[in-house]
C-alpha cells in the first residue's frame, strides 16, 4: 500500500499542477494510527499529506455535495462504496458527472477502527463490519485507476439477509421490544443522515422542528419515527456502504432496517442494487402494472 500511496501523491500533484481539477478529495493520516480522515487538497505541495492504508474507511462521495457550485472539476479517490455513492448522487441529479474526476482504487477491505483502538497496534485487527459484507470492492465507475484493477478480496455472490430473517421470525412484541431497545439509545445526532450519500435532500424534514413532525425532546417514539422515516426515504436508494452504522456514536444496528428494505424490494419489485447504474429508475420512483397486489 505504500507503493500506492506514492502513486496517489504523484497523481494528485500532477492533476493539480495541470489544473485538471481544483480540489482533490482523498484521505490523510488522522491523529491516531488507526484513523485516516478525509483530506481536501487544493495546492500541489499539500499532496504529500495524502495516504492510502487500511483505515481509509470513510465514504468520500458525500463530500462532493460541498463542491456543487465550484467552477471547475473536483477529483476524488474512490473505493467500491465511494464509487457507488457518486453514482447515487449523479442519479439523484445532485452533481454533474462531468464535473468530477474519479480516481479508482481497488479496496482490500478496511479495518475496524474501534477494534483497533481496543486491541492495540501489534494485534491482528479484524475487518470493519461494513467491509465484511461488501460485494463491490472495485469501483463500478472511474476515470483513472491506480494499482491493480482486481481486488484480492473474496466477494459473495448474493447478499446475506440472515439477520433480517432472524428478526422476521419473532413475534410482534419481541420485534417491538428489540427495536425500542435499539432506538432508546438514539441521540438523534443525525450523524447517520449527514454521512449518507442517499440522504442528499437540500432541506431535510428533521431540520424543521417547528413544523411539528419531530419534537426536540428525545423519546423512543420520536426516535423510531426518525428511524422509520429515514429507512423509507433511503429505501431503494441505499447503496449498502454501512457508513451510518459506522458513525453511530451509540452503535445502533441501522443497517438492519436498510437491509430489510433491500430484501423486500428484491422480493417484491425484482432484484435491484442501488448505485450501480446512474441511469436506472428508482424502485419507489417507478412502477409496473404487474406489481404484486395485496390490497383488495
Amino acid at each position: 500500500m505504500e507503493q500506492l500511496t506514492l502513486q496517489i501523491r504523484n497523481m494528485a500533484k500532477e492533476i493539480l499542477k495541470k489544473g485538471d481539477a481544483k480540489v482533490i478529495i482523498g484521505w490523510e493520516k488522522g491523529n491516531f494510527w488507526y484513523v485516516s480522515t478525509p483530506a481536501f487538497i487544493d495546492k500541489p505541495e499539500d499532496a504529500e499529506r495524502l495516504i492510502w492504508d487500511e483505515y481509509c474507511t470513510n465514504n468520500l462521495a458525500k463530500y462532493l455535495m460541498g463542491y456543487k457550485d465550484l467552477e471547475g472539476k473536483v477529483a476524488i479517490f474512490v473505493k467500491g462504496c465511494d464509487a457507488r455513492g457518486v453514482n447515487r448522487l449523479v442519479q439523484d441529479k445532485q452533481i454533474n458527472r462531468e464535473k468530477v474526476l474519479l480516481i479508482g482504487l481497488s479496496c482490500p477491505g478496511m479495518k475496524d477502527e474501534k477494534k483497533a483502538q481496543e486491541l492495540g497496534e501489534n494485534a491482528e485487527i479484524p475487518l470493519s463490519k461494513k467491509c465484511e459484507e461488501c460485494r463491490y470492492p472495485d469501483p463500478v465507475t472511474f476515470d483513472l485507476f491506480i494499482g491493480e484493477k482486481k481486488s484480492q478480496k473474496k466477494v459473495k455472490d448474493s447478499k446475506d439477509f440472515s439477520q433480517v430473517k432472524e428478526i422476521e421470525g419473532m413475534t410482534p412484541d419481541e420485534k417491538y421490544n428489540k427495536s425500542a431497545a435499539n432506538y432508546e439509545k438514539c441521540l438523534r445526532c443525525y450523524a447517520c443522515r449527514n454521512v449518507c450519500p442517499a440522504c442528499n435532500c437540500k432541506d431535510c424534514i428533521f431540520d424543521h422542528s417547528s413544523k411539528g413532525w419531530l419534537g426536540k425532546a428525545n423519546t423512543v417514539s420520536d426516535n423510531m419515527f426518525f428511524a422509520m422515516t429515514r429507512a423509507l426515504h433511503v429505501a431503494g436508494r441505499c447503496i449498502d456502504c454501512g457508513e451510518c452504522e459506522r458513525v453511530c456514536p451509540v452503535n445502533i444496528p441501522i443497517m438492519l432496517m436498510n437491509n430489510k428494505m433491500m430484501q423486500d424490494i428484491n422480493n417484491l419489485f425484482g432484484e435491484y442494487e442501488a448505485g450501480l447504474d446512474p441511469e436506472d429508475k428508482l424502485p419507489l420512483g417507478s412502477f409496473e402494472y404487474s406489481d404484486p397486489e395485496e390490497f383488495m
Binding site: 425532546a217 422515516t229 429507512a231
Partner: protein, 148 residues
C-alpha cells in the same frame, strides 16, 4: 376510576385516508344508502392515495390512533392516471417495515374502494374495527405526551 373501567370504555380509533375521487365518493354513497358502519372510523380526505406520506401514518400512531386504513381507487382508475401505482409500491414496503418494527400487520391496512362501492366501505370499516377491537389499544410507537 379503576383501570378495568377504562379498558371497558375503550373504543378503537381508526384513521381512514380516503382518496377524494373514489373512496370518499364511496363513503358518500354508503351514507346516501344509509348503510351503517361503526363510528370508530375518522375519515380524512386526501386528493389521491398517492398523497399519503408514510410519515402521516407513523405520526397517527404516535398520537394515539389504533389502526390506519389507506384507501384509494382501484389500479387503473386513478384520477391522476398513475398515482395509486406509486401508492401500491410504497405501501407494500411500508407495511412490511411496520411489521418488522413490531406493529401488528392488522393495524395498517390498504384497500381499493371505488366510488360505486358503498357497501364495500361499510364492510371494510366494520371488518377493520372488529379486528382492531380484538387486538386492543395500540401502545406501540405511542408518544407518551399524547397519552390518552
Amino acid at each position: 376510576m379503576s383501570v378495568n373501567e377504562v379498558e371497558q370504555k375503550w373504543e378503537p380509533k381508526i384513521l381512514v385516508f380516503a382518496c377524494n375521487w373514489c373512496t370518499y365518493a364511496g363513503a358518500d354513497l354508503a351514507g346516501l344508502g344509509r348503510l351503517q358502519y361503526p363510528p370508530n372510523a375518522r375519515i380524512l380526505r386526501v386528493p389521491c392515495s398517492g398523497r399519503v406520506n408514510p410519515q402521516f401514518i407513523i405520526k397517527a400512531f404516535q398520537r394515539g390512533v389504533d389502526g390506519v386504513l389507506v384507501a384509494g381507487c382501484h389500479p387503473g382508475d386513478c384520477h391522476y392516471t398513475t398515482g395509486n401505482y406509486f401508492t401500491r409500491r410504497r405501501f407494500l414496503l411500508m407495511r412490511r417495515l411496520m411489521e418488522y418494527m413490531g406493529m401488528e400487520p392488522e393495524r395498517l391496512q390498504n384497500r381499493w374502494i371505488s366510488g360505486s362501492e358503498g357497501p364495500k366501505v361499510q364492510q371494510v370499516i366494520t371488518e377493520i374495527t372488529e379486528e382492531i377491537r380484538a387486538l386492543g389499544p395500540n401502545r406501540k410507537l405511542r408518544d407518551d405526551q399524547w397519552n390518552n
